[in-house]
């Protein structure tokens, strides 16, 4: 990896007895689309605020291209920022809003005009330059906020849940636009969200935070396919969890047993005979079959139709519930509550989780 554009070392922020940030280490690569993902209270917004310079760290350092910026005020950091509530200046027109960072930097009027026009064109809002923010819809306002945060060529663009206040359809459109913009401009994006779909669809890399600490980081498919612990497996997408015991075998194929049902497991993780392991199993990796066709007999409890997919909640004997996600076009079985079925999975489908 080349010199990271932003390097965070051992960031700690305390609020009373709570550690909002609990020793975060993070390097951000130049041009990367990085997402900080976590539930509320996970420290993702605190981390972003610390990067922006709105809050100081109790411990640790921040460096921009190897230059220490830990104590630098936000106005000297040169990071653009987009907020959930747009934060457009209500007394300024769209043009004045977008030109604000250039005016503060005392650029000549002609240059300001040119760059504002370019920035507005970039977000397809050229026709709205003379409106007031209050005359625009939420999606339009957020586009203006984006243009404003980009108009001065910031080092990094920080985005704090920029799409959360918008409706679902608009959110999806803007996700594509943001990704497009990121590719076109090549600027480093640091994106905060609690929405896992947003994180999965846009990011180059995702940092999953919980209680102020990084749980796991990696590309969207790495995190989805190989969650390291139960929190990640549960937070990013849905997972079924199986507690099992290793009964034999040697890597990569092991024999396991869970509640009297033996099954094979293919994994790179080192396992020992007699070891208790936790497994995560994605709903779409579970197969639904007629009674006896698959490994574990079960009963359908609830069916939820989602359009292209159908989610089936089944209960195995003993009360353990499994969520199965199957394409709607599969018509070999029509799951209805009370139906006797069986469920099974491929030996390489379960992921071994780190003990928590």
């Amino acid at each position: 990896m080349n010199t990271p554009i932003l390097s965070i070392k051992n960031a700690v922020k305390r609020y009373g007895t709570v550690n909002a940030l609990d020793g975060v280490n993070l390097d951000v690569a130049e041009g990367e689309f990085l997402t900080l993902l976590g539930p509320s209270g996970s420290g993702k917004t605190t981390l972003l605020s610390a990067i922006a310079g709105f809050i100081g760290l109790d411990e640790g350092t921040l460096a921009l291209r190897s230059n220490d910026i830990t104590g630098k005020p936000p106005e000297h950091r040169d990071f653009g920022m987009v907020f959930q509530g747009y934060a457009l200046f209500p007394t300024m027109t769209v043009r004045e809003n977008v030109g604000f960072p250039l005016k503060i930097r005392k650029r000549p009027a002609a240059e300001i005009k040119k760059r504002v026009d370019e920035a507005l064109e970039m977000v397809q809002m050229g026709a709205f330059a003379d409106r007031m923010p209050s005359q625009l819809s939420g999606g339009q306002q957020q586009r203006i906020a984006l243009a404003r945060a980009m108009s001065f060529d910031p080092q990094i663009l920080l985005l704090d849940e920029p799409l959360s206040a918008l409706d679902k359809k608009l959110r999806a459109d803007l996700q594509w636009e943001l990704k497009d913009l990121h590719q076109k401009l090549g600027v480093t994006f640091i994106y905060v969200t609690h929405d896992q779909d947003e994180a999965l669809s846009m990011s180059d890399r995702i940092i999953i935070l919980k209680d102020g600490a990084i749980q796991q980081e990696g590309g969207p498919n790495t995190l989805y396919d190989r969650p390291r612990n139960r929190f990640v497996a549960d937070f990013l997408g849905k997972s079924n969890f199986i507690e099992a015991t290793v009964t034999g075998g040697s890597g990569p194929t092991f024999h396991c047993e869970s509640q009297g049902t033996p099954f094979d497991l293919i994994t790179d993780e080192p396992c020992e005979q007699g070891q208790a392991i936790s497994l995560a199993l994605r709903p779409e990796r579970l197969r639904l079959g007629l009674p006896g066709a698959e490994l574990v007999p079960a009963t359908v409890k609830q069916v939820s139709y989602l359009g292209e997919r159908c989610q089936v909640l089944v209960v195995r004997e003993g009360g353990e519930e499994f969520l199965v996600s199957r394409p709607t076009w599969k018509t070999d079985i029509t799951p209805t509550p009370g139906l006797q079925v069986s469920i099974g999975w491929d030996a390489d489908a379960p992921v071994v989780l780190a003990p928590s």
Partner: protein
Amino acid sequence: MQVSAFRIFFQTGAWLVIAFLVLPILVVLPISFTDTSYIGLPKEGLSLQHYANYFSDPDWLGATWTSVWVGLVVATCASALGTAFAIGCWFLSDRAAMVARWVLITPILVPPVVQSLGFYRFWVKLGLIDTHVGVILAHTLLALPYVSISVFAALTNLDRNLPRAARSLGASVMQTVWAVVVPAARPGIATGFIFAFIVSFDEIVGVLFITVRNVQTLPKMIWEGIQDNIDPTIAAVATLLIALTLLATAIGVLRRS
């Protein structure tokens, strides 16, 4: 159309309240046109002599001018201080802002006489008795809460991320305040300015306590006019003030619609 008893009841009530508020004020109108030389209703005909007297008497005009310029200085000082205070509180936490707000409105809660006594004792020590500076200081203190309350109101719904946005875009704290917060507070500042002017223009108790001969304001002149000689010029002045207020209100209403 059927008019319900309910509607009649409340309409009558509303008109009664308006009459209660307005009629005592309107009494000065006929008195100001009286042809007598004492306060009373016109006897044989209407006369403009008391208006003529007001506009030709240097004492009346001088007092009016003093009230106007003192009021403008007070409004300016109170607006500057009150706005700075409200914006400062807004930047702090909501809780601090709330506590500070309560502290600042105490001048409204304390009875004017008590407050004026305080001014008197204190101004004697400072040598400010019977000076314009003394009056301006006292009035600024009294007007401050009105400005800060109206600026607080203007800032209530302002997005707290605005200063953060401005600073991330490169503005220092002072630039942020000037370019972002003050413009948003402007309607509140304007309202506060008008209130502050009225508070000062109207103030009598404090002025009676802290001035003697040197400083003569319009309310004090009216007050003394009633005590010494029962001059209908007072009614003429009062009528002019009412007319001026109505005019200002009308302009305000027309500009808004």
